[in-house]
């Protein structure tokens, strides 16, 4: 979906819903299995990064493809297309020692939200 939506697409939008997937040729920074550290960012503008995963360690599970980056698109600072991944976190890493040992949380995160862990 482009930055501004075209009237010609209204029928399809209502029938099938919208998607911010784009066909830009962008290389992924992470592969499935890679360990990542989520950045601790606190922008006063829009972000799709929830507070509860900031600063936490996760593992890339799946690459969903390339999408418009909401954080920049929300302030008309460009679409900055990038990969979005399903990332796995252990419940104990997020919620502490009393969380069930085997529970996992999977959340979709944009490339820019993470750094690699060697």
């Amino acid at each position: 979906m482009p930055t501004m939506f075209a009237a010609a697409g209204v029928d399809d939008l209502v029938k099938t819903g919208g998607s911010c997937r784009v066909s830009a040729d962008v290389k992924p920074r992470f592969k499935p299995g890679a360990k990542v550290l989520v950045r601790n960012i606190n922008p006063v503008s829009h972000t799709r990064l929830p507070q509860y995963v900031r600063g936490k360690r996760g593992v890339i599970q799946h690459d969903h493809g390339v999408f418009v980056f909401p954080d920049t698109n929300a302030v008309l600072n460009g679409e900055k297309p990038q990969h979005v991944y399903s990332v796995m976190f252990s419940a104990r890493d997020l919620w502490g020692a009393e969380a069930p040992e085997k529970d996992k949380l999977y959340i979709d995160l944009f490339d820019d939200y993470m750094d690699p862990i060697p």
């Binding site: 209204v10 922008p43 829009h46 929300a74």
Partner: protein, 103 residues
């Protein structure tokens, strides 16, 4: 932003309604709100991320006390006022007319 919308991990909010049989629209005004969103979106008043950002700027207490489509209305009004296609006075006038059954 670290706003009231980011509720993941918060306690005391009650159970999440996951009933798959719940209606798409719980009132007729919600159906109209959906249509207004689509038209304003297609009309170029905002992109989807701007639309969500304005919802996050709602007053926290108002955000928690209002319904999903009221959040949409808030954002739609905010962007249409920001780009000059709608004024607070026009909204007020319309509300007054509706209150009198005169719309």
């Amino acid at each position: 932003m670290n706003g009231i919308h980011d509720l993941g991990g918060r306690h005391g909010m009650g159970p999440i309604d996951i009933d798959p049989g719940q209606p798409i629209f719980r009132a007729d005004w919600e159906r109209r709100m959906f249509g207004m969103f689509i038209l304003a979106f297609a009309g170029g008043h905002f992109n989807i991320d701007q639309f969500r950002a304005a919802i996050e700027l709602m007053h926290p207490a108002e955000y928690l006390e209002s319904d999903y489509y009221e959040h949409w209305l808030h954002s739609l009004e905010a962007w249409c006022k920001a780009n000059g296609s709608l004024t607070e006075q026009e909204i007020e006038d319309r509300v007054q007319k509706l209150a009198k059954g005169d719309a």
